[in-house]
């Protein structure tokens, strides 16, 4: 197991940071989060063409650059730090991973290249209004009617679900339950019987949608009824990617809190010289570093195809969720009244922390999964 990044990985990170410092200042975040689509197509194009980020963990044979989970997670951490508004998590993490795990080689050859080049933005629709984050929550059905599959049901909390140009949908054979009878389907955004509605998300940088399917045609990906394992692997990697995104955000909040505490004067001293603030920052650092350790370890484990991956993914997700929320709350607290204003940037990360806390399952859920997946 690697416990440090290579020089090449560090350079890769530095390049992304340089890009984001320029392209994703909070003025841009604020501008884009107020739009319906939620991202800037030109920045997305540059991010694909100049940095090749949507291609990062796609195999070279499918137009990708063939890196792995560690590099993907470096990208996620930096996106989290700079709150980049982009459909990256939807397309490059969720949909890409689902296709890589669940589609046949031929299907991958068709679907992945345009995703890798950034030309096509995909998303994965798996959660439903019941808000469950695993296979057992899937109720949407796929009926075989004259050789075609017709999907009926509702997906919710679908990331970039309104803007995505390709939908990968998890559906089940009627009459099945649990992890039985699940399949992936591709659905075109203009498919018959599909209604896409934007949800109002607290974190305006994360666009969520509710998708209603009424006898909507879908094309089967992979083998019928066998998507459960692929979905589970996809969700493990997604949880790890999210954990890395979260530690990037948490680090940004910690940096902001510490630099404000060093500058802000009350009672004739910088507030950072008071133990109340100092010790809070020390505890924040410990929590952020712990969460980083978990997020990095899990990313490396994914690269190594570690058999303990589900447990490690849950561990990283639970740890990062708590660290991010605590750091966000502490950062506001250290800023005092100004930290609670709209004008101050802290709330942008606070809201991201809150949405990340529950997205893909909250810390309690993942702690329970950790216990189920870890031999004690």
């Amino acid at each position: 197991m690697q416990f440090s990044f290579s020089d090449e990985q560090d350079q890769f990170r530095a390049i992304i940071q340089r890009f984001l410092r320029e392209k994703s200042p909070t003025t841009e975040v604020r501008r884009l989060m107020a739009t319906e689509r939620g991202y800037d197509s030109e920045v997305w194009r540059q991010l694909a063409e100049q940095l090749g980020l949507p291609a990062i963990h796609i195999p070279e044979v499918h137009g990708g650059s063939g890196f792995g989970p560690v590099e993907l997670c470096i990208v996620m951490e930096e996106f989290g730090r700079y709150l980049l508004c982009a459909p990256y998590f939807a397309s490059s993490v969720l949909a890409t991973t689902a296709i890589m795990n669940g589609a046949t080689a031929a299907e991958q050859a068709e679907l992945l290249p345009p995703i890798a080049s950034g030309e096509r933005i995909a998303t994965l629709a798996f959660t439903e209004p019941n808000g469950r984050w695993d296979a057992t929550g899937v109720e949407l059905t796929a009926d075989l009617a004259g050789g075609d599959y017709l999907l009926s049901g509702t997906k919710s909390f679908v990331l970039d679900g309104c803007s995505a140009e390709l939908l990968i949908v998890v559906a089940r054979e009627p009459g099945t339950s649990g992890s039985q009878g699940l399949s992936f389907f591709r659905v075109e955004p203009d498919a018959a019987g599909l209604v896409r509605e934007q949800l109002q998300s607290m974190d305006a940088t994360r666009k969520l949608a509710r998708l209603t399917f009424t006898n909507t045609p879908g094309i089967l990906l992979g083998e019928l009824g066998s998507a459960a394992a692929a979905l589970s692997r996809t969700l493990s990697l997604a949880a790890i990617a999210l954990a890395n995104e979260m530690v990037g955000g948490a680090q940004a909040l910690l940096d902001s809190a510490v630099s404000y505490a060093k500058m802000r004067v009350q009672f004739g001293r910088t507030i950072g010289s008071f133990q109340a603030i100092k010790h809070k920052c020390a505890d924040m650092l410990l929590e952020v570093e712990s969460a980083k350790s978990a997020a990095y370890y899990a990313a490396q484990a994914a690269a190594d195809n570690d058999s303990d991956l589900p447990a490690l993914a849950s561990l990283a997700k639970a740890c990062a969720s708590d660290a991010y929320m605590h750091t966000a709350a502490s950062c506001i607290q250290i800023h005092g009244g100004i930290g609670f204003t709209w004008e101050n940037d802290t709330h942008l990360w606070f809201k991201r922390a809150k949405s990340s806390e529950v997205f893909l399952g909250d810390p309690s859920y993942h702690r329970e999964l950790l216990m189920q997946n870890r031999e004690l």
Binding site: T127, G131, W133, S156, F157, L199, Q200, S201, M202, D203, R206, L208, M263, R264, V265, Q266, F267, G268, R269, T270, F274, A276, I277, A329, I332, Q333, G336, G337, I338, G339, F340, T341, W342, E343, N344, T346, H347, F350, K351, K354, S355, E357, V358, F359, D362, S364, E368
Partner: protein, 422 residues
């Protein structure tokens, strides 16, 4: 202030008889709000505890409660009681000259003038006495320059209670003065300040050579911190105001409508306040409706929250009971604010657990038509507003537990004390 202690010769029976008779002769729900309150203030029944010279009867707090009872019995309205006007009234009554009292008090009580409180600044929040808004005397009047913040209702205030620095060469608490500022002048600019929860409850107020006449200092120049302490001691009575007007919430008649409109304006900035307290009241029903009530781990968190919330309430009641029994207030009172931060944080956590994926939504897509989202993004305010948790812990440790203060870094001439550059 000897005059506010000039106790009258009423006993309870005679007082009750007199106020009942006066109400029978004078209370008329058909009057306009201002006409009624003008009549009321002139009678002395408006502020029974105040001296007879100033709209009162000079009676004790106990007897004043008797007056309030008789007013309530016939649903008679009292004076304008909400918002910073009340703070202005008590401060002017205690520290103002007779001329200032004559100029301001009655119109505060009738509600004709609205006021705002200009204390906090961007550079001095926890450190309120570190004010750097300057008041310079040009020989005939004061010129005000600087900025205040967290000012409620500044956009419709006639007057402001202003603390500003008049001497930079003495220690910080000694160089402040307290003024009445005319808000309706070109040198005063008011901007709304939006919060992270989307509401705009406060204002920023900018002064550029704003003017104050020489006779509008309360108490004397350099005594501003002492005067400010009076104002601060009367803060945080909002709940009492609400309790009083809530009793009349169902009454019909033009004067009640007028009062409700007045209350609505005062309360407008506080609409989200219940949410910042975490809404423990909603937890049970929400947990049942989502099924979270069946999750043993969530049950533990709900129970922790219930314990925290109930004990906070009981601690407050112990404090009130001790006072009612005439005993010195114990530590219970000072702890309430800190407890409420803990409760709010725990409640927000529990609402997140209960809501699951729905916690990502806001507006009408969020459960309870947006209230859950409001809770989640409003909670951080409660451990900051009205004194941060850190300041509360200092106060508890120093004033309740008697622990030593920290060595101070700001005791010299204020000019030399490090401050924020804003």
């Amino acid at each position: 202030m000897a005059e506010s202690n000039n106790m009258s010769n009423y006993d309870e029976a005679s007082l009750r008889a007199e106020v009942t008779a006066w109400l029978a002769a004078n209370w008329d729900p058909q009057l306009s709000l201002i006409d009624w309150r003008t009549r009321l203030t002139e009678s002395g029944w408006a502020m029974p505890q105040w001296p007879a010279q100033w709209y009162g009867k000079g009676v004790s707090a106990q007897l004043a409660a008797v007056v309030a009872e008789e007013f309530a019995a016939v649903n008679a309205l009292g004076v304008a009681s909400g918002g910073p006007g009340r703070l202005a009234a008590v401060t002017i009554l205690e520290h103002g000259s007779d001329a200032q009292k004559a100029q301001y008090l009655q119109r505060i009580l009738t509600g004709e003038d609205a006021w705002c409180q200009l204390f906090s600044e961007p550079g001095s929040g926890s450190d309120l006495a570190g004010s750097t808004t300057r008041a310079d005397f040009d020989g005939s009047q004061w010129l005000i320059n600087g900025q205040k913040v967290w000012t409620t209702s500044a956009h419709h205030a006639t007057y402001g209670l202003l603390v500003a620095r008049t001497d930079w060469d003495v220690p910080k608490h000694q160089g402040l003065s307290y003024f009445v500022l005319d808000m309706q002048q070109p040198g005063v600019e008011v901007h709304q300040l939006r919060q992270m929860n989307g509401h705009a409850s406060f204002n920023e107020v900018f002064f550029t050579d704003a003017r104050i006449a020489a006779d509008q200092v309360l108490s004397k120049v350099g005594n501003g911190w002492q005067v400010a302490l009076t104002t601060l001691a009367h803060e945080r009575r909002l709940a009492d105001v609400l309790r009083a007007t809530a009793a009349r919430s169902k009454l019909e008649g033009p004067i009640y409508e007028e009062e409700r409109a007045e209350t609505a304006i005062v309360m407008e900035p506080y609409q989200w306040y219940p949410q910042r307290a975490g809404r423990v009241d909603l937890v049970g029903a929400r947990a049942k409706s989502t099924g979270a009530i069946n999750d043993p781990a969530i049950r533990q968190e709900i129970a922790k929250l219930l314990i925290m919330s109930q004990t906070a309430e009981w601690t407050a009641r112990r404090a009130r009971a001790a006072q009612e029994h005439g005993r010195p207030q114990g530590p219970e009172g000072s702890l309430g604010k800190l407890a409420s931060s803990n409760v709010a944080r725990a409640a927000s956590h529990v609402h997140t657990l209960i809501s699951g994926a729905d916690a990502m939504l806001t507006g009408s897509d969020s459960p309870l038509d947006g209230i859950i989202a409001e809770i989640l993004v409003s909670v951080p305010a409660i451990s900051i507003a009205g004194g941060t948790d850190e300041i509360q812990r200092n106060i508890i440790a120093e004033r309740v537990l008697g622990m030593a203060k920290e060595p101070r870094a700001d005791t010299g001439p204020f000019r030399d004390v490090p401050k924020n550059t804003v």
